[in-house]
Symmetry: C2
Subunit: 439 residues, 2 copies
């Protein structure tokens, strides 16, 4: 496994932050090289944004497994909260730390490691394997939909293994079957061409920070009701089967309380099943960032001319990002905030795979003997990704799993994976491939 971890470390040392357009081309080349080294025929395909690395290798059976991964990572900021530099992979106590190690570079190289093991032993793959490795997942896969639509035949397959997953905080492996959608926007307002002394302007000049605060405060009330017109109209509740699966998932309350120092949860919910349902079957409106005026030490008496907020709506089936954008514009205009500009930074609808699909059973069987505990099935998670377009254009069932655990801290400082789980994730993927021979 040492060689595989070395390969992963090289990939991690290459920053690839799509939001900052940092190291994207270089990282795509590394990914392409890794696939070529396993005998895949590889293309670096343009999309208008970050390229998609596509690799294909024929196997014994007729069935085709698609692995969807991404080589871009979240921004590493705030840098001062990292114990070791985010792009210098560091091993401590059996865990490898670096930005992107859990989301998603580690899962990608664990799958390559599985392929190496099979090729070593068998000389060929048990099924056809296609890798679709994109470079804009962390910014909402903004250019992927036309790419998938235009390359339906090239990308086609029977089962898709999604980028991310692992074990829950009780160390039980999880197969995840759905993702929420997302609509990510930046709200911007400018009230003057320059800042002014707050003593001069405070009583008579418009203030961008106030305009932003007032506009935001109309979007969601302190009881967590999102106030866009028609926002909840197309929200559908979980099915009975989904509720049954959610009830088998572990109680997350104590874990969240401890890791995040929470006193309680929104809306005062405290029943584990209710919490699990609220966590993913309700859409959100999250302020991810606020920016205006002076933010340094002490005081500066300035009236800011500009203000902005990053706002992320998580969507449940059947909400659509374009719908939300239209509702947002309508809402802001109706409340007197036509001066607030909406910049769309990306989005996808949500989608989920039927828990009774045979491909789900295959992934569950493949996990037997690899992990110490029985596999759990999570019908939908809170995060997002472009699974909607794979279901829409390729018609494949999608199962998501990987090498992550409850300490992985995806999107946060000190992101990491356990090397023990890395080996297990590789083994699980190898077994999925072997079972695909007869799919």
């Amino acid at each position: 496994m040492g060689e595989s971890v070395d390969e992963l470390s090289r990939l991690l040392a290459q920053p690839s932050v799509a939001a900052q357009n940092l190291g994207i081309e270089e990282c795509a080349e590394l990914v392409a090289g890794a696939l070529k080294a396993r005998g895949f025929s590889v293309s670096i395909m343009p999309t208008g944004g970050s390229p998609v690395v596509f690799g294909e290798r024929k196997g014994q059976g007729d069935a085709t497994l698609i692995s969807y991964n991404h080589y871009d990572v979240q921004p590493a900021e705030p840098l001062e909260l990292w114990d070791s530099p985010p792009f210098e992979p560091t091993l401590r106590d059996g865990r490898l730390y670096a930005r992107g190690v859990s989301d998603n570079k580690g899962n990608f190289t664990a799958r390559l490691h599985a392929i190496d093991a099979i090729l070593d032993r068998e000389g060929e793959l048990p099924c056809n394997v296609k890798f679709i490795v994109e470079g804009e997942e962390e910014i909402g896969s903004v250019n992927l939909e036309p790419f998938v639509k235009a390359n339906k035949d090239l990308l086609a397959g029977d089962v898709c293994v999604w980028e991310v997953g692992g074990v829950d905080h009780e160390n039980a492996p999880i197969q995840m079957l759905g993702l929420r959608g997302i609509c990510y926007v930046e709200l911007r307002v400018r009230t003057a061409i320059r800042d002014v002394h707050s003593g001069t302007g405070g009583s008579i000049f418009p203030n961008a920070a106030w305009r932003l605060v007032w506009a935001l405060s109309t979007l969601k009330d302190p009881y967590e009701n999102i106030l866009l017109p028609g926002f909840y109209d197309s929200v559908i509740p979980p099915t009975p089967r989904e509720k049954e699966l959610l009830a088998q998932l572990p109680d997350m309350r104590a874990h969240y309380r401890e890791v995040y120092g929470l006193e309680g949860f929104l809306k005062g919910v405290d029943d584990p099943l209710e919490l699990a349902i609220q966590a993913v079957y309700q859409p959100t409106c999250t302020i991810c960032g606020l920016n205006s005026g002076y933010q340094g030490e002490g005081s500066k008496t300035v009236l800011p001319a500009e203000a902005s907020a990053k706002v992320d709506f998580r969507l449940v089936p059947d909400q659509r990002p374009q719908q939300v954008l239209a509702q947002l514009r309508e809402h802001l205009d109706a409340h007197g905030f036509s001066d607030i500009e909406i910049v769309y930074l990306g989005g996808n609808p949500g989608a989920k795979t039927d828990p009774d699909h045979p491909a789900v059973g295959l992934a569950v069987r493949a996990a037997e003997d690899v992990y110490d505990k029985p596999t759990r099935i999570n019908p939908m998670i809170g995060g997002s990704g472009p699974n909607f377009m794979f279901q829409e254009y390729l018609g494949v069932p999608i199962i998501s799993n990987g090498a992550n655990d409850a300490d992985s801290r995806a999107h946060a400082p000190n992101e990491s994976i356990s090397l023990d789980l890395y080996a297990k994730a590789a083994k699980h993927f190898a077994r999925i491939l072997m079972l695909m021979r007869d799919y």
Copy 2:
């Protein structure tokens, strides 16, 4: 004048940002040295914060003139908007650019230049002169009040010339007689011990940015009504004499529209006198800064655990900062925001000098022949400073003037003064000193 500008440039090259505790001691030494060079007996006096530089020199007459100045400056950020580095004084088209050149280092050295001229010609000063040069004006003079109170006899005098002023945008010299008070706070909230992925937490975790936005939105409504309990109770309107003086001030509307790119003014006010009254006789609640979560390029799907806002209340007589702090705490608690911490960053009550005081007449007479236009009297300006404690403990009339003009951009990037006005301000101060001989 070249030597005086050289001296000013050396002072400007020494950063002295009280908010960032940057260069304070070094700048105090420079100020002390400049006063000693003019034969002043000088003490660098501790206050618990930045020291006060006190200098005194006896003159012919019995009367004592106090010059109040400050050697600290506003933070220079945002640095990218400066055409030349803020702490590298640069001369362009007859203007000197640097942080602090208009507020307040230029006014300080202009007064030294006046003293040099008198000493050259007369060999002694016409009256006693005391310089009180503090180092925390830009952070609300947080340690000055106990200092003034404890040193009443040392600091005593007959007339105080305040730190700042100059000509208005029609190039008429202004004598300013009052300042609003200020209460500057930082509002902080923390909802968890670390940030979380917005997909995981959006529906169930509290969000610090939302808490802050909701709390702020209760402080002031979009019609500019400040909603703290009792906030307007002690506000007193302008006197008839003040209104008369305000009516003689120039119409600022076109100037503000052009320089700041404004379409109109708050509350739709468009009458020049009404605007002048609203600008300074109403208290404010200004958001000076907002800070939470991700503020970089593109999107980051994070739910922030921390958020903060800088908020500046400008106060009119007879409001008091401690009163406002109590009202703010009471208001936040009553609206369910006990989780919002209030950090007091400094403040003063407002104060004003009677426009019919003989000292005002003296300053007006001294300006005759120096400036091309007759002097105007501004009974109160929108800015703040510690004039209240000088009136309270020293009982002096206070007149504020200096070398600034409408292009000076105090507190903003590209702060500057005109060297022509610098010479005029020095001349005006010299004439004030000469008239003080018979005061």
